[in-house]
Homo-oligomer: 547 residues x 2
Amino acid sequence: MTHINPYALGLDKNAANFVALSPLSFIERAAHVYPERTALVYGPLRRNWAQTYARCRRLAGALAARGIGPGDTVAVMLPNTPAMFEAHFGVPMSGAVLNTLNTRLDASAIAFMLEHGEAKVVLTDREFSGVMAQALSALGSRRPLVIEVEDDLAPPGQRLGEIGYEDFLAEGDPDYAWQLPADEWDAIALNYTSGTTGNPKGVVTHHRGAYLNAASNAIAWNLPDGSVYLWTLPMFHCNGWCFPWVMALSAGTSVCLRRIDPVQIYALVREHHVTHMCGAPIVYSMMLNTPAELREGIGRTIRGLVAGAAPPAAVIEGCEAAGIELTHVYGLTEVYGPSAICAKQPGWDSLPIVERARLNSRQGVPYPLQQAVTVLDPQTLQPVPADGETIGEIMFRGNAVMKGYLKNPGATAEAFAGGWFHTGDLGVLHPDGYVKITDRSKDVIISGGENISSIEVEDALHHHPAVLSAAVVALPDAKWGEVPCAFVELKAGSAATEAELIDFCRPLLARFKLPKRIVFGELPKTSTGKIQKFVLRERVRSASAIE
Amino acid sequence: MTHINPYALGLDKNAANFVALSPLSFIERAAHVYPERTALVYGPLRRNWAQTYARCRRLAGALAARGIGPGDTVAVMLPNTPAMFEAHFGVPMSGAVLNTLNTRLDASAIAFMLEHGEAKVVLTDREFSGVMAQALSALGSRRPLVIEVEDDLAPPGQRLGEIGYEDFLAEGDPDYAWQLPADEWDAIALNYTSGTTGNPKGVVTHHRGAYLNAASNAIAWNLPDGSVYLWTLPMFHCNGWCFPWVMALSAGTSVCLRRIDPVQIYALVREHHVTHMCGAPIVYSMMLNTPAELREGIGRTIRGLVAGAAPPAAVIEGCEAAGIELTHVYGLTEVYGPSAICAKQPGWDSLPIVERARLNSRQGVPYPLQQAVTVLDPQTLQPVPADGETIGEIMFRGNAVMKGYLKNPGATAEAFAGGWFHTGDLGVLHPDGYVKITDRSKDVIISGGENISSIEVEDALHHHPAVLSAAVVALPDAKWGEVPCAFVELKAGSAATEAELIDFCRPLLARFKLPKRIVFGELPKTSTGKIQKFVLRERVRSASAIE
């Protein structure tokens, strides 16, 4: 007797019960439900959700009228201004893919991205006109349409655009009938990762993942409807960890700012009653190191997501004292920004700060709507034992994982080998199931056949009261192969010597893990506050060659 | 020159970046991240998420071992007990579809559902053994495997099952390697709607919708991680509005109870620090009408979702005074329970109670992850003007909309005509975009050619201090065709006459809308507190026939 599945027939998808998942739906709802709530604050500018939605529709309509649509790339070279926020909706509403350029890059990198991404249109801000003019001239006849985003708050600079942003918007219809993507798997954004070697790779993300990771951010953070979010994290970095879309979902207010300036940050927090922000530990360090008188009048708690590096104990403790409640998250551009969270367990709050810092420094567990983050043996893809010691590679699986790298099937296949996304970060799995980075893959120091985690050495140095930041890389060594070399930035007004810091580490580290050399000075950082270890490695290499 | 879409090639789905959306992922994560947090409380029983997950895997494994899998139906006739909660995970983990039976139904309805749904297995509780024995005997040789869920807290009753639930679980492996559905569109649940005429229709929902509406509940309610949820809403009603899955997503605690008893409710609230609950207005009314001494010691605010009927002003006001913060939501079984929300706007809180009640009584706007709820002309499917007056049919569109009705292509096609789900509820669209029910389709009273909204008449009666509940139906009338007839239940210890209530309504209603007859007595209600108007209509018909 054949078994007939009663659920297999006549229960198909149709327009009533199946809609492509896209974060563009969030702004439509925000404008519908909370049309008059403030969406954007920037200098003296205030715009509500109805106005913001109308401007995004104008942008989409104007792009479409110029023939831009699915499969086309629109690049933007913009700081955290309202135009940058609008691009996150207006560009994909036209069907095109948004490519946010890292504004700290040089002309050759920008030219590479514009060429490789085949940008048809570029929105640019005069602060970056020097670099952008060079990049555009390198493109020659393949120059895209350049739209100049005028901004009274920008520093002086050359005007590059064929048309101004406001004039361009005026070409579009505020009621433009944009469409959801034909398929939720369609590309929404292209973000180039700043690899340490070779050309940048173009991470292509999709509407489904952006929708889900935006919702996941809201759930992970228990983000209340109508929050006030301060844009300390660059939107060019993994689309601001999906937060333009999160703010539309929660119909909150985005407070925009062009640069990280603690004085301005505190003024904005006071004026707009900021409730939420994101950033690397360095952002919070800067806020904590602001003179007390500038921090006065911040009555309420600010909630902060921190990623890019584990928050040091001093930052956790300082934030607690300053009324900033930190949550440590972890991710990469390939997983839409934060995609793992160091979920706080009952009881952690009452532990001593050192223990709290140790627990909160871990990369944690999957985001609520991410499927898995774990540590696997990169060869066998078998899970490592959850012993906190066995090192493997951190891998993700789930719907908030990129489509792949643009026009780079080799890198894509490598990243997805065995059905997991390989982060390249090495880590361990703790007995409670939390993932902990032991080292970015390239950061392992192999000394006398023993692996040394540079992070472990950095952690030890961070315990010294004079140390603001520390980065440890491998120094070639005739006897041991490699030894740890530490680059240390001291706190303003603090002092320490090489011998003092090495002595300080003795009780904290096995002998072979002690830094053999300490170099003092400011550390090179990316725009998002990540220390650029490849620069330090380069310095070490040059120095070794001379010696 | 052909335009080549650079995003069209080499960026396909694979095991790393595409996973079927299913709420089953939530319990895996809850058990992984919060294994020791309490998942279930029931009488003296406490079970954490690790234990609960292991039991659900046992259930799935035991079902699979008996040959149950995709396309099979597993029915349950259970109150809000831990087994009922576990069935929401264990059954779909086996690939089967969960059919929760309404425990208030009679044997012929149950027999119809078991037969129509082709249930292969039934889990049952001895409280319902009378009805279930009759239903099973009607099935004859098509009797499914009956599993007896033993419960010390159940009233006495006959044992029906071939095997006990605990023995059945013992057949399964606590580490059973369950699989996500092959397709997120696969069925997860079958819920029969209690139609007023004809056979019940079997609403088939899918994993994708259950996942999204669970997340939508969490976002709409800004539900904190680790909430304590009291099960005042039957889980057999649209899968408890998706809340078994929501509680897994937020790794919260479910406090189970067999029946709505205000004394027990307050005891549970006190003991377990309940933070959240759901129910029809009647549930909150009952809680408010509990003597003050039983309500003592409830220090914190409880947040309640209310649906099934708009919360009357007295309930909103009473809840405020009692520390229960209500949010009005709206939905149907076909849209996974709540799928629209009367989102509160800034400023509402400071309005007078009558105005606040008027605003909050509306069905509102789409849930955060639902695409649309609106009012359309049922013929043309064009939106009605947002004037608060033009009546149309309330319709939904989005991913939290059923697959269709089981083995009922005609009803499915009708429900989805024109690419919208037709609720059958009539309503208007207010200028602020909020949907407001004016009448369930069958409740319109047509008097002298004028439509009368029975809800409007009921609202007027609810303003009278002696009225607990009022329901208005059409009374056949020789002159006018139909006139409103009101059935009124008075508050305990209150009194009112027919003439008094009609006089009371005069300033509130147009003359032709005044109730022409008022019948006093207890109102017939469904298990979820909805007034059964079809019973009242039947009474009116019988009475008219005699007169």
